[in-house]
Symmetry: none
Subunit: 258 residues, 2 copies
Amino acid sequence: MKEKAVPSSAQGPVQGSAAVVKGLQLLQIIPELGEAATVKGIQQHLGWPRPTLYRLLNTLEREGFLERNPLGGEYVLGRQFIHLARRSLRAGSLQERVRGALRRIGCETGETVHLGVPSGMHMTYIDKVESAETVRMASYIGMAVPMHSTSVGKAYLAALDESERERYLEQLDWEPVTARTIVDAARFRRELRETRRRGYAIDDEENEAGIICFGLAVTEVDGRVAGAISVSVPRYRFDDGKAERIVAIARAELDSLG
Amino acid sequence: MKEKAVPSSAQGPVQGSAAVVKGLQLLQIIPELGEAATVKGIQQHLGWPRPTLYRLLNTLEREGFLERNPLGGEYVLGRQFIHLARRSLRAGSLQERVRGALRRIGCETGETVHLGVPSGMHMTYIDKVESAETVRMASYIGMAVPMHSTSVGKAYLAALDESERERYLEQLDWEPVTARTIVDAARFRRELRETRRRGYAIDDEENEAGIICFGLAVTEVDGRVAGAISVSVPRYRFDDGKAERIVAIARAELDSLG
DNA sequence: ATACTTATGTCCATATTATGAACACAAACA
DNA sequence: TGTTTGTGTTCATAATATGGACATAAGTAT
């Protein structure tokens, strides 16, 4: 055969994979070929013997991942693929789902709001609503921040089930970020218990001097913990009662997501 | 094994399909299992021997269709799948958005309606509402038609900005499709200007003898030109005033899309 | 209408591989 | 510390995927 089906990576051939790899290649090449995705067109492109191609096309068609136009004979991705794709992309837009709430929280509190998701041993900001005040956060979308010193990190960890949380705690890098960062694991566990008790996380100048943040976990539609939001306030704008107001606003908006 | 991998249809086993079918089953089951999509969870669900499961998981992972959380070991659909899904759903979502309008236009006009999107130097029909009349169009979803001789092509080209339109006009294959097809580029440019002036395109038996079509461009929610619809009428059913009625109905429905 | 070319589709001997019981090791738990 | 559970791999062999050869259908040129 002209084009050997091997995994894309350089890790050497894997048993039981050649037909699967070929099947996946078909799923990828057929939309690219468009109207040329006939048996002849696909065969010319991939160079496979016709029995091999027919067998795979028929299998994918029977499983609903491909459909064939009865008139011209072109293949297209089938409804089974489309269905799977829709469901998976729907779940993929946490940021879209939460964006409105972020905006409203920013409006009502007048402060900067972040949405963070876990990425390795850090939280990464995937959305941010800037405060209209002149003093602003230096953070940015895509920025990775520590879990142990930020309110998004604490809120996220506090919301996890215990075994998953412990896996993170064992691997965290307990570097001090400011003089106030908690770097003792036992003390940090107590801090997370306190976070759960009060219902929100606090970063009391532990990640950045002069900045206090309040964090609440965010869940997927199916209930799984997906990340957290934080509302950040410069200490000079902070006064008693502000924490409760910020948290009440944030909680109401997150609860309205469903 | 507990669950034999056979095609979903009743057509009997197909050679060379068992591993492909298993691979597709994994792609479908993993999002459903969510955080239970660990090796143990998948194995409990499918009942496959572990070497079989590992081989398929590793293959899908190497091809980028699955990714594994390094901490908890759960599998999720990988970026190769997400990429393929996004591209394939892009065209599909225009069809969904426009489908209701297509149906209403078909109902109110009593004629066949197509939705076409650009594909290379052609328009491809991605949706069709059949007329209830006995004389019907031979067109089908997936069919590629010329841009210069059809009302979907003219409507689409007329709506583009000039530089993009000129790119198309320089590369079109000015083949006559019927005796009435415009094959002179300069004359075709005048035709597109006239199309813009009147607000809709006309295929006056230029693509198929005896068939007159009226086309209007369709835009994405962000305003970009995405394709066009056409309403097709056999000449024998055509009378004065019908064009205006058809176009008014079509325009009203498209305007209501937002 | 006929001959030729091209495209579609299948058969089946055999080369190749997918299978899965058995095994090894790691992690969790009592 | 011992047991249980989970992760991961090996490899003899049963099972299957392969692809050259063939059959048939459709399209084209004469």
